[in-house]
């Protein structure tokens, strides 16, 4: 099946905005409230594997984008299911019921971007430890400034030049 045919099949889902990116890659944009249904639809269609959950901070639009990176081993095709959630209220529903492995990906997104996934039981600290600042992958977190303030301000213990 070609990209175009698959795109047409996906477009049957109400509210889906389908775009063929390149060979073997299709982007599907859906409104946030329909995300879970769209994911279930895609899974039924054959995109049965969740490769990763990507998260992008579109600070100008004041939105977070969640990209569910799906793959179908039968069609050899990738679909990027994209939903956008408001930056002020970063909350979404977990996809653990469809793909159990989403738990780990969502745990990471929670820590790195501060997105809360409802019904995910395991949103505990994952990679960072005692992190009290803004989630580090947000665009308004300035890593260089943080380094300057936190690490570079510390004096050498035995004296000497900075």
């Amino acid at each position: 099946m070609s990209e175009q045919e698959i795109a047409e099949r996906i477009a049957k889902f109400p509210g889906a905005d389908v775009e063929v990116l390149r060979k073997g890659q299709i982007a599907v944009k859906v409104p946030a409230e329909k995300g879970h249904d769209a994911a279930a639809y895609l899974k039924k269609m054959g995109f049965a594997h969740l490769v990763a959950v990507e998260y992008v901070d579109w600070i100008k639009e004041n939105e977070f984008e969640l990209v569910y990176n799906l793959f179908s081993y039968k069609m050899k095709m990738r679909a990027f299911l994209k939903v956008r959630i408001p930056r002020d209220k970063p909350e979404y529903i977990t996809f653990m019921d469809l793909w159990p492995i989403a738990m780990t990906h969502e745990r990471e997104a929670h820590e790195m971007m501060g997105i809360v996934f409802r019904k995910n039981p395991n949103l505990t600290p994952f990679i960072l430890e005692d992190w009290k600042n803004l989630p580090p992958m947000r665009k308004d977190f300035d890593s260089r400034k943080y380094v300057k303030d936190k690490y570079d301000s510390i004096p050498f213990a035995e004296g000497g030049e900075q």
Binding site: P136, F141, S143, R144, V147, Y151, I154, F156, A157
Partner: protein, 191 residues
């Protein structure tokens, strides 16, 4: 480098340092020779440099020729090798490991990351200067240093032990307060 005048002139940690120096003197050359010929290092890959330790330990470069081999627990080890960048989560464990090691103990920082941050100089997760938090006896530059340069570093450390200039553990006792203060600035809660 610690010489006798300095000991008398400085207040902080005078007693500790004096005892250390007395001991080094009383055991003399034999002790230093034994220490330098049997450096056991902590089996801890703190960063990506751990991958070059594997060829170093195995048949091609075989560091057991110099009496060095990895030791499982810090209680039995003499050398702590910081292999590469130091994440703040790891730094806590490094300090714990370092404090568990019995004296005399030595630290070798490996690669350019512990020196000044290396390619991760602007990363929020790694520290830039390791010697702000624990005393370092020797640095190996490069990313990553080849096994030959690690062997060379160990040879230099052996010379330093023979001279008595590998005094990081004494400095840690002497400057314990500022070291501790620096560590506490990094970690919000200590364990």
């Amino acid at each position: 480098m610690v010489d006798d005048e300095k000991i008398v002139s400085e207040d902080m940690g005078v007693q500790v340092e004096k005892n250390e120096n007395m001991e080094m003197r009383s055991f003399g050359t034999v002790k230093r020779w034994a220490t330098k010929r049997s450096l056991w290092m902590v089996h801890y890959c703190t960063g990506c440099g751990g991958i070059e330790l594997a060829p170093l330990m195995t048949s091609r470069y075989d560091m057991e020729r110099f009496g060095m081999h990895p030791m499982v627990t810090p209680r039995q080890s003499d050398v702590l090798l910081i292999t590469g960048y130091v994440n703040i989560k790891t730094l806590k464990r490094i300090i714990r490991t370092y404090e568990q090691m019995p004296d005399p103990k030595y630290v070798i920082a490996f690669g350019s990351c512990p020196i000044n941050g290396g390619p991760y100089w602007d990363s929020y997760a790694t520290i830039n200067h390791l010697d702000k938090y624990i005393p370092i006896d020797l640095y190996i530059a490069g990313c990553m240093p080849r096994p030959q340069s690690i062997v060379r570093a160990f040879e230099d450390l052996m010379d330093m032990i023979q001279d008595g200039t590998a005094d990081g553990y004494m400095r840690y006792k002497k400057y314990y307060e500022p070291y501790k203060a620096n560590q506490e600035k990094i970690f919000r809660k200590w364990w």
